[in-house]
């Protein structure tokens, strides 16, 4: 009996320690989440408008004017940027992302079987799981915990755009987790290049071409890459906010179930202790009765 009590006691202690850790992680991710969420919300309208502007531009200007506006005739090589997380313990965040990536690869293969897909990853976990799944990884970029300026992802965005310009890739796709609310995050696929104009908007605005000031070439050269970089930056921010909120949620669930487990264990511990006492009393009274 004493053995059982000691065993339960040990279990209680270990669960309590785990709970402390998960609680601390929850608080840390909550703080990080607040930061990431405010960052993503502030830049979202800029990124959305920038994307809209790019699509409008692609629709109303001559594709000859800038290489980023051209549409490859045949899609042979696809570059996919997957934005994951560096660390685990964030619920289904990475699994869902990977599932989406695998599904995307399969659907591309269905369209034409000789298409080659290269993954470019941001975040260690994304790279590891994609390698394990047997995909080809072209580049893996280190991810910093807090990203506060577009410049910080410049090497990544430069590489993607340059690879498209050099015709290394005919299509560039972003896979990231869209932050909808702190309880809901949606893995999303967004085609960055070639630009696909939304058909609905085109009819409303008519087909009038833009006038450029000072001239089309300098505007497109200056702004097109920047607006596209903004899209990549926004995807990273969305991903960051999603990661932290999903980790916070996972840690809160873990702390809650640790609490439940502790209640069960304490009940078991008290029962065992009480049983021990009852037995001792019984033994004492039996021996006393035998002596009378």
């Amino acid at each position: 009996m004493a053995l059982a009590i000691r065993k339960i006691k040990r279990q209680i202690r270990s669960v309590k320690n785990t709970q402390k850790i998960t609680k601390a992680m929850e608080l840390v991710s909550a703080a990080k989440m607040r930061r990431a969420v405010s960052a993503v919300k502030l830049s979202r309208s800029y990124a959305d408008l920038a994307w809209q502007a790019v699509l409008n531009l692609s629709q109303k200007t001559d594709p000859e004017l800038h290489l980023l506006l051209t549409k490859p005739k045949e899609i042979k090589k696809v570059g996919v940027l997957v934005v994951g997380s560096n660390r685990g313990l964030c619920g289904v965040f990475n699994q869902q992302l990977l599932k989406k990536a695998v599904a995307f690869a399969a659907s591309e293969k269905e369209v034409s079987s000789d298409v080659a897909i290269d993954f470019i990853t941001l975040g260690r976990k994304a790279a590891l799981s994609l390698v394990k799944a047997g995909f080809n990884i072209a580049a893996d970029f280190p991810k910093t915990e807090i990203i506060s300026a577009v410049g910080e992802i410049m090497p990544l965005s430069r590489m993607l755009l340059d690879d498209f310009l050099d015709k290394k890739y005919d299509k560039i796709v972003l896979i990231y987790t869209d932050f909808i609310s702190s309880l809901r995050q949606q893995p999303t696929i967004k085609q960055l290049l070639p630009l696909v104009p939304q058909s609905k908007k085109s009819q409303e605005n008519g087909t009038a071409e833009y006038i450029f000031e000072p001239d089309a070439d300098s505007i497109l050269r200056n702004f097109l890459p920047r607006l596209l970089e903004m899209q990549i930056y926004q995807a990273v921010l969305e991903s960051n906010a999603s990661e932290h909120s999903s980790r916070m949620l996972a840690m809160r669930n873990a702390s809650d179930s640790a609490g439940g487990l502790l209640a069960d264990l304490t009940l078991g511990f008290n029962k065992a202790r009480q049983a021990g006492i009852t037995q001792e009393i019984a033994e004492i009274s039996v021996s006393k009765a035998a002596m009378e």
Partner: protein, 142 residues
């Protein structure tokens, strides 16, 4: 007839409203957009941007960016933008002199000259807007 006007920076939405006209500094000169303007894409220059609504003016200091004008819709994707009443004149002056000092020192070592010039231009624009609109405060809660 009003124009849907929206000015955003990577940090925030600075101003969004229906206005009667917008005056924008572009690289080829200042333009004023009235309703039914032809579709236009232009590069924004550091300077003063003014939106007008019912004779009320909303002056802002902007640095570079992109202007997109569609049918009765003006969207400005600015690098930075501030309302006149938000600018602290002293800070703007200090920032400008800091940038100027950097440029004087720069001749020894090759620093990013264009970035510095852009900073000076931006601060000058802020200063101008702040000085001009110092006396009148556009919002009552100021």
């Amino acid at each position: 007839m009003a124009i849907k006007f929206k000015i955003v920076t990577p940090e925030r939405v600075v101003y969004e409203n229906e206005v009667d006209s917008v005056t924008l500094p572009t690289q080829t000169g200042e333009i004023t957009v009235l309703p039914n303007h032809i579709p236009l894409v232009a590069a924004l220059k550091a300077g003063e941007l003014t939106a007008r609504k019912n004779k009320e003016e909303f002056p802002m200091a902007v640095s570079g960016g992109l202007i997109e004008i569609n049918k009765n819709e003006v969207i400005v994707l600015a690098d930075t933008a501030e309302h006149a009443y938000e600018i602290n004149e002293q800070w703007a002056e200090e920032a400008r002199s800091r940038a100027l000092k950097l440029i004087q020192e720069k001749h020894k070592e090759e620093v990013d000259y264009t970035a510095l010039t852009a900073t000076i231009e931006k601060e000058l624009a802020r200063l101008k807007v702040a000085r001009r609109h110092k006396s009148k405060l556009p919002f009552q809660n100021q």
